[in-house]
Amino acid sequence: MKADDRIEAEVLLRQPKPVAGTKTTTRAQSAGQRAPDSETVEKVANRLRALGFEVLAQSPVSVSIAGTRALFTRVLKMSDAPDEISHDLIVPGDLEDYVEGVYVQVPPTYF
């Protein structure tokens, strides 16, 4: 896949309380409480692979994925405009019980 066609995203797994779009923050003392178990993480990762995504990493927090723009557009309804990166994508129906959201990642700023 060409470098400029590659999109990477975090598939945020459902936590005990919703975190996306809220002011809820997570601290070390509560991190990991009732987090998704490894079976759930593996189920989501396998489903994403089946949908055509490359699974880069997985944890009880999220599954890191990569794919082409065309794949993200087809499966997650990302905008297909070349200069536009959608930051909130659509979760496939069969993953809604396990996934809170899918979010495209952008590189950080080095300080």
């Binding site: 400029d4 590659r6 809220t22 070390a28 890191s64 990569a66 930051h87 959201g101 700023t109």
Partner: protein, 515 residues
Amino acid sequence: MPKKKGSNSKKAGSKPRSRPGLRARSLTVTMAGKPTSKAIAPPDRVSFEVLISPPEAGLSPTEATERISFSNIENFRPAKSKQDQAITRMAELGFKIVAISPYSISAEASPSLFSKVFGTQLEVRSIDRVQSARPMREKAYYAPAAGAGWEAPTELKDLVHRAYIQPPAIYFESALPPNVNYFHLNVPSGVAVGTRAVDAHHQGFTGKGVKVVMVDSGFFRHKFYASHGFKATVMLAPGATNVTKDDNGHGTAEAANVFATAPDVTFTMVKQGMNSTAAFKAAVALRPDIITCSWGFDLVDPQSPIRKHLTQVPNTLKALELEVARAVASGICVVFSAGNGHVSFPGMHPDVISAGGVFVDQNLQLTASDYASAFDSKPFPGRHVPDFCGLVGMQPHAIYIMLPLQPNCEIDRELASGGAFPNGDQTAGNDGWSAISGTSAAAPQIAGVCALLKQKKPGLTPHQIKQALMASAVDCSKGAANSASNEGVALKATSGNDGATGSGLVNAGAALSLV
């Protein structure tokens, strides 16, 4: 800021290692372009510069009787129409045009095409490309054979003066930094003194046995590291490529700050690709004692002229927020830079050590760095940034600590192009040294100090380490932080804990006495 690279999955360690003592012999390349005996294989392309025939009554640069400089360079500019014709005909002949300037055309071709079109012979030569403390690494390339002729073909006869094959560049990096005529700190000694890490070293604490992982742009094996006995392992995070390169330069440079304060740590660089969260997960998976990160995201409203702070962490960074919390919960001490005028996340995460900046001058006087961030976090009410500080320079560009990096990388070129200090660092753009800092330097300095404490008391929790460092920091009561991080209001340094510097400048020696 330097761009991150795009990424294609590639396994670490896939590039061949050099073999010491091997020398390539000169070989005559046939018109078919195949070497006649075994040698280090050169690439299958030649890169060359084409000089266009000079204007009438003009001279080619190779015929100049006076030194070419900005005052007379226009005398050597060929007619654009001639250059345009040359480009067209070169493309028709099968050459690939890669760059065009008013003075020359950069092109590539296979060795056989070059030989055939210009009626010449090429041979394979080798060059010792990088002088390093490790065995010499060689690179083979094609060059005109001694005594070989050269002639432009009919299609180019009136257009092209000559085509010169370009040999590979030689990287000149030295283990020792260049001399410059402004006050700055060297590594490791200047940073070790400024952070009082020398006091710890004299007590026998050097970070031995402590695992530190840095997530950054990569690590180039600069001579500086080997000559000081500093050892590093490098791995690729998911999506990253080129484990031996650091084309940005940031990671290679900032890693020196870790070794300055903790020379004997077990150090790993995780080279990140496009996804910092995936890279952070990779760092956590190594089960280190300390993770240090000199990057982040600027949580401001991009439409606001005063850089109004966002009130919550964006969804795209929620996974990273959780991963940072999990890492600290698992016992890893996590250090993040506070930013350089940025409202930085995860630098504002309450569970991390947030590293701000203090400038120490040649008289060891402390001033809050006006380059470094200081603010109260809105997504995390009650969380002030920074907790305390490392060594950071002053505006405009915090040119302060002479650090090693990959020669000719983005930072090397950028700092060299700024001119005289304080706008440039007055080093060459390809010498493998740049004078930089920012809170990018503060975080790894502090990470190294954390390692000193862990060596003395391995059971210390991240919270205990943070408390000890805050309680022992040297007060800074002069100056103010970067106003860009606080909606235009620069937080001031005062006696005691203050908005600009938190507890003040890290003091490794004093911190050790508290644990």
